[in-house]
């Protein structure tokens, strides 16, 4: 059966996406669907499609600095359209200040700094989606 809950990852670097997928799959196995987009436009389209398919997007993990539309702009748009979707920002840029400024506008649940450790990533994701190991 296709999973009804999805985690959407957005990053301009495909290798980041692959890494994220590996780590998430290793931890959560096939519990969720993992969807990927290489830029914000593609991601918005993806989200629309997923919503149309009645798939519940439990989390967006987005890069901060991206060509074209930046992470904060992208999440703002998502937030406008689908206010319930929570998000994590991944940033390798020492721009925490700018991220925290944008926090209240984009329903931001946390920040992951590059390079992340596997534990940090999983812990952050779990805290957002309220994953219960026993479940």
């Amino acid at each position: 059966m296709q999973k009804r809950s999805a985690i959407v990852c957005v990053d301009d670097d495909e290798m980041i996406l692959i890494s994220l997928k590996q780590e998430l799959m290793a931890h959560f196995n096939g519990k969720y669907r993992y969807e990927f987009a290489l830029n914000a436009e593609e991601a918005l389209q993806l989200i629309d499609e997923l919503v149309e398919e009645k798939i519940y997007i439990i989390l967006i993990i987005s890069d901060w600095l991206m060509p074209g539309m930046n992470g904060d702009e992208f999440l703002m748009k998502v937030n406008e359209k689908y206010p319930g979707i929570r998000a994590l920002i991944v940033t390798g840029y020492a721009d925490i200040l700018a991220v925290s400024k944008a926090r209240h506008r984009i329903n931001l649940s946390g920040v992951i700094t590059k390079p992340w450790s596997s534990d940090e990533l999983i812990q952050k994701v779990e805290s957002v989606i309220g994953y219960d190991k026993a479940n």
Partner: protein, 720 residues
């Protein structure tokens, strides 16, 4: 005739007598003196003559004597005997007489007897041989005869005495006649007339006596009148002298300068005028008991004593100096003093006359001027010192500025580096994150799946193993996310349509492996459990492959950034110009800026094949960094950056263009000036383009800027 007239006659007589006596007193000694002088002259002449004779005897006679040439000797002696003072000459050796000649009444004759007489002098002269030994070879005996010379002398003396006698006689006669005519005779007449008057009181007395008496009396009267006139004249002269003296005294006392007379040897003050008294503060009476040293300032005494001694010794005629007097009230008085001796050269020093001018005011003024001058000089010196130290400070400041400038260039470089580091951190963190993650994945796969993989490889039948290898090989093909989603939907739908219960994990893995099978193939694949194992194993191996590949790519990325950073911050110790690849250099800089440009800047590169440029490599990229940095800021990190590297005759031309706003004409001339910046305070140093210009000029290149809306280009020409 009155009493005075008679008195005057007596005076006149006395006067004339005194004049006469004086004349004789002066004249007679002069005659004697003349005679003595004459005698001395004669004696000197005689001595000279004798010396001459004796010299000639030695010099002229000697060769004749030595050669025994009697004839020559005779001639020589004859010549000598022509002189009347020489009477006789004999030449003889120790043993014999060679020749003996005498002068007799003007004739030279042989002689055998020595001349006798009161005024004969005999002298024996040894004649020396004129060689080294100088032994005596003969004796010349000479008899001088002084009688002719004595005669001449006495003739002269008698002549002088006769002259004296004659003059004496003439004067006596003249005086006698004069007194007889003018005095004795009139008196005689008067006396006779009186006698006659006494003898006969007759009528005739009146007639004769009165006439003669009257004539005599009138003569005396005339003389008396003359005398009176003379006396009046003398009186008048005296009066004049007295007046002159009064005038002189007034002149002396009221003169504007001090005048003082001093005894030359003792320095005692004899007389001083009013002004002098004023100058030194003592009265004339007080000064009479003082010497000039008493009132001279102690420091000036020594000099004045020396000068006075010179004056007394006749070394100087007079002198003028400036000296200080000690005024009676103790204050100092400056004076210009002219010292003149009152004796003639050769005379005994008597008095000194000093003319003294008070120059205290002038001196004070002078001192004031000197003081002011000194103060001024001090001030000038002080000011000069200030200037010198200011100059030193300025030089030090310039030196500091120079080193500061060098430091600033380096600081600017590091500042640019600092700004870059923030962006570069991202560039490094991303590959590091990927490496970390991939590492984790590999570890996990190896831990969890290795056994399964090995088991599968050992046990799988050939056809299943083929499916496995096919999937692994396919996994390297790139698939877009949208395509993957489409595939996934298709597989889910197919499984649903055919009523196959399939684990979503398998579908995900197939999608990730890039499997693209038709519906039948897919159903066949997922229906066989052995095939499912092949898919799982293939996925694990593909993940390993992918992770290793990701680590490799990320490592390359990271090392590229590191190399660029290293190149940029590298401080070249080699200060010489070397050929350098400008394209490679540009690429290094672009790598550093990649992160800042990738989200909004399109880079257009037009590189021709160019030769290496001659430069300082570690400074060359500083040029590009600064220009690119400026370009990015100018277009706010959004726009097009065009970099052209081309050949321009024998140089390489690098053009860096951006499509930001144009540089205003008002500042375009100033952009290369140091510290010129359009950025807000503290944001830019304003050194970027100054450094660029400096660096370009340092390697003998050229730079210019062209700016119009939507295109600003910096052109740089570099030597190859």
């Amino acid at each position: 005739m009155n009493r005075i007239s008679i008195k005057r006659i007596g005076l006149a007589q006395k006067l004339s007598g005194m004049v006469f006596l004086l004349g004789i007193l002066i004249y007679i000694p002069s005659i004697i003196l003349g005679a003595v002088t004459n005698l001395n002259r004669i004696k000197t002449e005689l001595a000279d003559y004798k010396q001459g004779v004796e010299m000639r005897v030695q010099n002229a006679f000697e060769p004749a004597i030595w050669n025994y040439d009697i004839e020559s000797l005779r001639k020589l002696i004859t010549l000598e005997l022509n002189n009347e003072n020489l009477e006789s000459v004999r030449v003889s050796t120790e043993e014999i007489s060679l020749i003996w000649l005498s002068s007799k009444d003007g004739e030279v004759v042989d002689e055998t007897v020595a001349p006798q007489g009161k005024y004969i002098e005999k002298k024996v002269i040894p004649v020396y041989r004129m060689d080294e030994q100088e032994r005596i070879i003969a004796y010349a005996t000479i008899w001088y005869d002084y009688s002719p010379i004595r005669q001449e002398y006495f003739k002269q003396l008698i002549h002088d005495l006769l002259l004296v006698g004659a003059i004496f006689l003439t004067i006596s006669v003249a005086v006698t006649i004069s007194s007889y005519v003018r005095l004795v005779r009139p008196l005689e007449v008067i006396r006779n007339s009186m006698i006659e008057a006494g003898k006969s009181a007759s009528v005739g007395r009146k007639k004769l006596g009165k006439a003669r008496f009257n004539r005599a009396f009138s003569e005396i009267k005339t003389m008396a009148l003359d005398m009176e006139n003379m006396f009046n004249e003398i009186e008048e002269a005296n009066q004049k002298i007295r007046e002159n003296e009064a005038q002189f005294r007034a002149f002396f006392n009221q003169a504007g300068v001090g005048v003082v007379q001093v005894i030359a040897n003792s320095g005692e003050l004899v007389i001083a005028n009013q002004r002098y008294c004023e100058i030194v503060g003592y009265s004339v009476e007080e000064l009479k008991n003082m010497t000039y040293t008493d009132i001279t300032h102690e420091e000036d005494i020594k000099n004045q004593i020396i000068m006075t001694e010179k004056l007394i010794n006749g070394e100087i005629e007079k002198y003028r100096h400036e000296k200080r007097y000690r005024h009676k009230d103790g204050r100092l008085v400056w004076a210009d003093v002219t010292i003149t001796p009152l004796w003639e050269p050769g005379e005994t020093p008597t008095f000194i006359l000093a003319v003294v001018q008070d120059i205290t005011d002038r001196k004070l003024a002078e001192e004031k001027i000197i003081k002011l001058n000194n103060e001024l000089e001090d001030k000038v010196a002080e000011r000069t010192r200030d200037l010198e130290s200011a100059n030193c400070e300025l030089e030090a400041a310039i030196e500091n500025l120079r080193s500061a400038q060098a430091q600033l260039i380096n600081t600017e470089k590091m500042a640019v580096l600092g700004r870059l580091v923030a962006g570069i951190a991202h560039e490094l963190n991303t590959p590091l994150g990927v490496i970390n993650s991939a590492g984790g994945t590999i570890e996990r796969v190896l831990q969890n799946e290795l056994d399964n993989v090995i088991e599968f490889c050992c046990k799988a039948p050939d056809d299943v193993y083929r499916i496995y290898t096919g999937l692994v090989n396919k996994s390297n093909d790139y698939q877009e996310n949208a395509h993957k989603r489409m595939l996934r939907r298709t597989y889910y739908n197919t499984a649903e349509e055919n009523g196959i219960e399939i684990d979503s994990e398998i579908i995900e893995k197939l999608v990730d492996l890039g499997y693209q099978g038709e519906a039948d193939d897919f159903i066949e694949l997922v229906s066989n459990p052995e095939n499912i194992e092949a898919v799982k194993t293939a996925y694990s191996v593909a993940i390993l492959h992918k992770s290793v590949e990701m680590i490799r790519v990320s490592t390359e990325k990271a090392s590229k950034v590191i190399i660029a950073l290293k190149t940029y911050s590298h401080k070249d110790t080699n200060k010489s110009l070397v050929p350098h690849d400008v394209v490679e250099d540009m690429e290094t800089v672009l790598t550093l800026y990649y992160n800042q440009m990738k989200y909004g800047v399109e880079i257009i590169k037009e590189y021709e094949t160019v030769p290496h440029v001659i430069c300082f490599p570690d400074k060359l990229h500083q040029i590009w960094v600064n220009i690119i940095n400026n370009a990015l800021q100018a277009m706010n990190y959004k726009g097009t950056l065009k970099i052209r590297i081309s050949n321009d005759s024998d140089r390489v031309k690098v053009s860096i263009s951006n499509n930001g706003p144009a540089i205003p004409d008002s500042i375009i001339d100033r952009i290369f000036e140091p510290f010129f910046t359009t950025k807000i305070l503290g944001e830019g140093t304003g050194l970027g383009l100054d450094i660029v210009k400096r660096l370009v000029e340092e390697i003998d290149g050229d730079i210019n800027v062209e700016s119009k809306p939507d295109e600003t280009t910096f052109n740089i020409w570099l030597k190859t």
